[in-house]
C-alpha cells in the first residue's frame, strides 16, 4: 500500500532493544514494520512521546512483583524520519531519548540518548489479486548505540547496547479500506561489553563481553485505512533465540531469554486544515512474557511531510491518481 502518502512515520524508536522495560512499544505503529511507503522525494519527519510502565514482571516463567522496584516506568521522546528515494524504496531513521525510573526501592534511574536505527524498505511487489491488492515488502535495518549508556543495570538500563542487523518480510492485503499485514523479522545482535569483567549466566564467564542471543519478531496487524484515517489492532511477539532465565530473586541480565506478546491499538489522523500534518496515537498491553516486565504503554506523536517534488501538487493529491 503506497498510496497513503500523507501517512507518517510512526516511530518504532528502536525500542526493540529496551526489552525489559518497554518491549511493548514494539507493538506500536511502526513505519519500518508497516505496509506503507512514502512517495518519491517526500520526507516525513516528526516526534513521538511514549510512556510505559510495569509493576509485575516474569522472573523466568514465574510472575511476580517486587516491592524494591515498585512500578518501573520508561518515558521516551523519539525523533524519526522516512524519505522516499522512489515510490518503492524508502529509507528511515529513528533516535530516541529514554528515561527510566522506579517508584520504590533505592535504585537510581537512568536517562540518555539510546540507539540510532536506520532502515531500507523496499516494495518489490504490488498487484491486484482477487478482490484486493497484495503487496510484499522487505526491510533491512541496522541500529547501534550512539551514547555510552549503562547496559548492565536492568531493569533500569535504557537499552541493551547491541548492534542489531534486522531483516523483515511483510505481506499486506487490502480490500477496499480493510487491510491485514503480517510480518516476520530476524534480528541479529552483536556481542556487548559490560562494566564488570566477569558474570554468571548458567556458568561463570571471565570476560566483560556478553554473547547476545538473536531474536525473532512476529506481528500481525489489521484494521481500516483511508487517506485520512488509519485505525488498526496490532498483535506482536518478540522471541529471543536462546538466552537464559533470571534465576529466582536474581536481577535481570542483558542476555536473558526475553520473550513477550503484546496487543495494542493504533490510530493516525491526517489534519485536514494543514496539508502534510498528521497526528498519531495508540496504546498496548503485554499479555504474556518471560524475563520482561508486563508493561502497558501509551504514545502519541506529530508528523509532517515535506515534499521535495518540484511539482506543485501535494503528495496526497498525487496519490489519488493511483
Amino acid at each position: 500500500m503506497k498510496i497513503t502518502l500523507w501517512y507518517p512515520v510512526t516511530g518504532r524508536l528502536s525500542v526493540l532493544s529496551i526489552l525489559f522495560s518497554v518491549l511493548s512499544i514494539t507493538a506500536m505503529a511502526q513505519t519500518d514494520a508497516d505496509a506503507i511507503m512514502m512517495e518519491k522525494n517526500n520526507f516525513c519527519t516528526g516526534a513521538m512521546y511514549s510512556y510505559s510502565s510495569w509493576k509485575n514482571y516474569w522472573e523466568g516463567t514465574f510472575k511476580r512483583d517486587n516491592a524494591n522496584f515498585g512500578t518501573v516506568s520508561t518515558k521516551m521522546i523519539g525523533i524519526m524520519g522516512n524519505y522516499g528515494i522512489s515510490d518503492k524504496l524508502n529509507v528511515l531513521f529513528s533516535i530516541p531519548y529514554v528515561q527510566t525510573k522506579a517508584t520504590a526501592g533505592t535504585l537510581h534511574g537512568q536517562k540518555g540518548v539510546q540507539d540510532l536505527s536506520l532502515w531500507i524498505k523496499y516494495m518489490p511487489f504490488e498487484k491486484k489479486i482477487g478482490p484486493g491488492t497484495l503487496s510484499l515488502y522487505a526491510v533491512g535495518g541496522f541500529s547501534f548505540p550512539v551514547t555510552n549508556y549503562v547496559v548492565d543495570y536492568l531493569p533500569l538500563s535504557i537499552g541493551l547496547r547491541s548492534k542489531n542487523i534486522s531483516l523483515r518480510g511483510l505481506v499486506d492485503y487490502q480490500v477496499k479500506n480493510w487491510f491485514a499485514t503480517a510480518g516476520v523479522t530476524y534480528i541479529n545482535r552483536s556481542n556487548i561489553k559490560i562494566d564488570r569483567d566477569s558474570y554468571y549466566t548458567t556458568e561463570l564467564h571471565l570476560t566483560n563481553e556478553v554473547d547476545m542471543p538473536d531474536a525473532m519478531q512476529y506481528q500481525f496487524r489489521a484494521g481500516w485505512r483511508s487517506d485520512r484515517f488509519i485505525a488498526e489492532a496490532v498483535l506482536s511477539n518478540w522471541t529471543t533465540m536462546g538466552g537464559f532465565d533470571i534465576t529466582k530473586n536474581n536481577m535481570p541480565f542483558p542476555s536473558n531469554k526475553m520473550n513477550m506478546t503484546a496487543v495494542g491499538v493504533s490510530g493516525k489522523y491526517n489534519v485536514k486544515a494543514v496539508d502534510g500534518l498528521s497526528i498519531i496515537g495508540g496504546g498496548n498491553y503485554t499479555v504474556a512474557g518471560r524475563n520482561v516486565g508486563q508493561s502497558t504503554g501509551i504514545y502519541g506523536g506529530v508528523f509532517y511531510i515535506l515534499n521535495f517534488n518540484k511539482k506543485k501538487k501535494t503528495t496526497e493529491q498525487s496519490s489519488d491518481k493511483k
Partner: protein, 519 residues
C-alpha cells in the same frame, strides 16, 4: 518487474550474508586458552614449609609406592598409552584445561559455585524470609546463600586445605622420590610440561581431593557438578601422561584426609550460628537505641533480617578473637546525630547526583553484588590472573591463594564484627533522597566490606608480588571509592575499612614471612 524481484533477492542475500558473518560471536574467557603450567621452580622442598592446621607434614600417612619396574606399575603405564591411542577431541580439551593448573582451576570452579549461589532468598507469602538448610540443600532456598562472608570463608578453607595437603604431598614426593611416568617410560606421549618433581603422590589429585572434600561441606547440593569436575581432572592427568593411577589415588586420598581436618575446624568455627535469631536481631536494635544511636534498618521490602550478624564471632585463621577486639576492631563511626555524620550523608547525596558514566563504570566494575563471585572472589580473580604470569609451582600457587583467602575471610570477620558492634545505618536510611548506583547490601554501613576486603587483599598481594604493589593499592582505593560513588557508604566507612583491611593483611604478611616458602 523481473528487475525488481532480482534487486530484492540481491538485497535479501546481501543482508543475510552480513548476518551470517556477524553470527560468529562466541565469547572466550580470559583463562580459557592459557598454556600448560610450567613452574619456574619446582619448590621440591615445600614439604618443609609451615602448614596451617597440620601438626607435621606426615600427620597423615601415605604408603610407599609400588616400584616402577613392577607389573602393576607397567599396567598403569599401559593405561596411559591405551587412553592416548584413542584420545578424543574432548579429552584433548580436558587435558589442556586442567594443565593450566590445579589450584587455578579449582579456584575458578569455586568462584562459579559462589556466583551461582549468591542469591538472597525470595520472601514467604507472609513477608518473612526462609533460610537455606544445609541438611536439605536442594530445596528452595538453595543452600548455601553464598553471600560475601560465606564466600570468603569458603575460599579460605578450600585454599588453606589445598595448601596443607600439598605441603604433605611434597613431603612424600621427596621421601619416596618416584619419578613421573614419562621419566620412567620415554615412549609415553607427554601432553603437559615435563617436570623433575617426583609424581607420587600426584599434586593435582591432592588439590582435587582437598577441594572435593571441603566442597561436600560448603556446597552440598552441587555434588554432581563437583564430582564430574573431579573425575575429569583425575582422568586428564592420566591421559596427559603426567601421572599413573597410583599417583592419583594416593594424592586424592591424602587431599581428602588433610581436608577432613579443615572440615572439622569449619564445623566448629561458629559460622553455622552466624545467622542468629529474632531475639538477637532485636537486641542489636535495642542496644543501639540504648546507646542513644539510630539503629540500622533493612532497606529491603519486606524488611530482611540482617546478613550474618554473628559472623564477627567466627574463628579467624590469622589471629584470635582477643587480638581482633583489642588490636584490629576500628573505633566508632561519627555519631548519627553529629555534624560530621550530616556532612558525610550530604556527601553521599552529592555523589549520587554526580552520577557520571565513569562513576557507573567504577561502581559496577567493583559492585560484585547478587549473582557474582563476591568481592573476595573478584580479588581471587585478580590474583589468579597475575599468578598465572608468575609460573608458580602448584604448592606456591596454593600457599599464595591461602594467604590471600585467609586474609579475605579474616577481613570479613573483622568487618562483620564492626558492622554489628556499631550497627550504623546506611546513608539512604538517613536521607531517602539518596538513590544508589547499585543495590544497597542488607547489613549496617560501618565499616565498608569492599574497603576492608580490598585493603586486606592489596596488603597481602603487594607482599606476594611487590612489583604490583602500586597497582593493587590503586585498585583497592578505587574499589573503596566505588562504594561512596554509589551512595551506599559514607566516607568514614570506606576510609576506615581500607585501613582496617590493611591491618588484617599484615597478619598474613607476617605468616608469609615465617612459613619457610620465601617469595
Amino acid at each position: 518487474m523481473k528487475k525488481q524481484i532480482l534487486f530484492s533477492l540481491i538485497m535479501v542475500v546481501g543482508v543475510s550474508l552480513v548476518m551470517l558473518h556477524s553470527c560468529t560471536k562466541s565469547v572466550a574467557g580470559r583463562t580459557d586458552d592459557i598454556s600448560a603450567l610450567q613452574p619456574s621452580k619446582t619448590d621440591a622442598n615445600a614439604g618443609t614449609w609451615k602448614p596451617i592446621l597440620l601438626n607435621a607434614p606426615d600427620e597423615f600417612a601415605v604408603a610407599a609406592p609400588i616400584a616402577t619396574n613392577s607389573p602393576d606399575y607397567i599396567a598403569q603405564v599401559n593405561e596411559i598409552k591405551a587412553w592416548q591411542k584413542n584420545i578424543s577431541e574432548k579429552e584433548k580439551e580436558m587435558v589442556k584445561y586442567w594443565s593450566a593448573g590445579a589450584v587455578l582451576r579449582w579456584n575458578e570452579i569455586l568462584r562459579e559455585l559462589v556466583a551461582k549461589h549468591n542469591l538472597p532468598p525470595y520472601q514467604n507469602a507472609d513477608g518473612t524470609y526462609p533460610f537455606p538448610s544445609a541438611n536439605n540443600p536442594l530445596a528452595y532456598p538453595l543452600f548455601p546463600f553464598a553471600n560475601p562472608p560465606y564466600a570468603a570463608r569458603a575460599y579460605a578453607y578450600v585454599s588453606a586445605a589445598q595448601y596443607d595437603a600439598l605441603v604433605a604431598a611434597y613431603h612424600y614426593k621427596k621421601l619416596y622420590n618416584r619419578a613421573a611416568p614419562y621419566n620412567v617410560d620415554a615412549s609415553i606421549n607427554v601432553m603437559v610440561n615435563k617436570s623433575d618433581l617426583p609424581s607420587y603422590p600426584s599434586e593435582d589429585a591432592v588439590v582435587e581431593g582437598a577441594a572435593v572434600e571441603m566442597l561436600k561441606l560448603l556446597f552440598p547440593g552441587d555434588q554432581d557438578f563437583i564430582q564430574q569436575k573431579a573425575t575429569e581432572h583425575k582422568n586428564a592427568r592420566i591421559i596427559s601422561g603426567a601421572n599413573v593411577r597410583s599417583d592419583i589415588d594416593a594424592g586424592e586420598a591424602l587431599g581428602k584426609a588433610v581436608a577432613q581436618k579443615f572440615v572439622t575446624r569449619a564445623r566448629g568455627d561458629r559460622a553455622g550460628a552466624a545467622i542468629g535469631n529474632q531475639a538477637g536481631w532485636t537486641q542489636l536494635e535495642n542496644d543501639a537505641i540504648a546507646k542513644g544511636e539510630t539503629p540500622w534498618y533493612s532497606l529491603e521490602v519486606p524488611k530482611r533480617p540482617p546478613m550474618l550478624p554473628l559472623f564477627g564471632k567466627v574463628k579467624a585463621f590469622l589471629f584470635d578473637s582477643l587480638t581482633m577486639v583489642t588490636q584490629i576492631r576500628p573505633g566508632p563511626p561519627p555519631l548519627v546525630k553529629s555534624d560530621k555524620m550530616k556532612q558525610e550523608t550530604d556527601e553521599a547525596l552529592e555523589n549520587i547526583k554526580n552520577d557520571t558514566r565513569e562513576h557507573y563504570r567504577i561502581v559496577h566494575y567493583w559492585a560484585d553484588g547478587v549473582g557474582t563471585a563476591t568481592p573476595p572472589g573478584h580479588w581471587d580473580a585478580i590474583a589468579a590472573e597475575d599468578f598465572i604470569k608468575k609460573n608458580y609451582s602448584e604448592v606456591r600457587w596454593a600457599r599464595n591463594m591461602a594467604l590471600l583467602n585467609m586474609s579475605l575471610m579474616d577481613a570479613a570477620i573483622v568487618c562483620w564484627d564492626a558492622k554489628y558492634y556499631y550497627f550504623n545505618p546506611r546513608p539512604t536510611q538517613l536521607n531517602p533522597a539518596i538513590k544508589t548506583l547499585t543495590g544497597i547490601p542488607n547489613f549496617p554501613a560501618y565499616i565498608s566490606g569492599h574497603s576492608t576486603f580490598s585493603g586486606a587483599a592489596a596488603s597481602i598481594l603487594s607482599y606476594i608480588i611487590p612489583e604490583n604493589a602500586d597497582k593493587y593499592n590503586a585498585m583497592a582505593k578505587e574499589a573503596s571509592l566505588s562504594r561512596m560513588y554509589a551512595g551506599i557508604h559514607y566516607r568514614a566507612d570506606c576510609e576506615v575499612g581500607l585501613v582496617t583491611g590493611g591491618k588484617v593483611g599484615a597478619y598474613a604478611v607476617a605468616r608469609g614471612n615465617s612459613d619457610g616458602a620465601g617469595n
